[in-house]
Symmetry: C2
Subunit: 123 residues, 2 copies
Amino acid sequence: MIYSNSLIAIELHESTIPWLKIFTHTPHKEFSECSMEEKKMIWEAIDLIEKEMLSYFKPEKINIASFGNMLPRVHWHIMARFSHDSHFPEPMWGTKQREGSDQIAPIKPFLEELKKKLSVTFG
Amino acid sequence: MIYSNSLIAIELHESTIPWLKIFTHTPHKEFSECSMEEKKMIWEAIDLIEKEMLSYFKPEKINIASFGNMLPRVHWHIMARFSHDSHFPEPMWGTKQREGSDQIAPIKPFLEELKKKLSVTFG
């Protein structure tokens, strides 16, 4: 768990790339079933995380997705992608292209800074 | 092309499932680079399309994604997924599970109704 407030929780997804997940505390199957407050909180969190990932990791591209086919509960994935990562240019759910790269900046300082930014922004 | 206004364009993606794509007219690499007006328009369009897909197709789940690894330009995918579709429960970028289903309602009446709803909502 990286961050939690009254509406959402942000978790780290174990991966060879920087990959975070955002959940609503209240379970919803579809995103349109979320309250306006939950939707806005998620969009603002995605925006903040994307900007922080771009600034710190200098990735090739940010990927964002909400599937929930196996676990029918709204959650969002935000991933920093690199030309040398395990699946690029495929999505992380596609065909693996190569071994994961070790040329990605360490995630710990990023998470520390992100926690501070999230607390300042959302309380 | 299904719909276009001053900020976004909505297109049909050729597929065995109902699959729409939203582009901004102004090219941006990352979603956080979009203007607040573009972001809001996209979130509202995703919300409207999701609700219309749920109501018309009665799918198992809605999937939403923004990758852009091959085409580094912001665009969003919205897909209605069914337990019997070609890839379920995998994302459409994952491993194909079976032949595409022909048990999905025809898309034409859906698109006609969606066009009207988009015009009424966004002008």
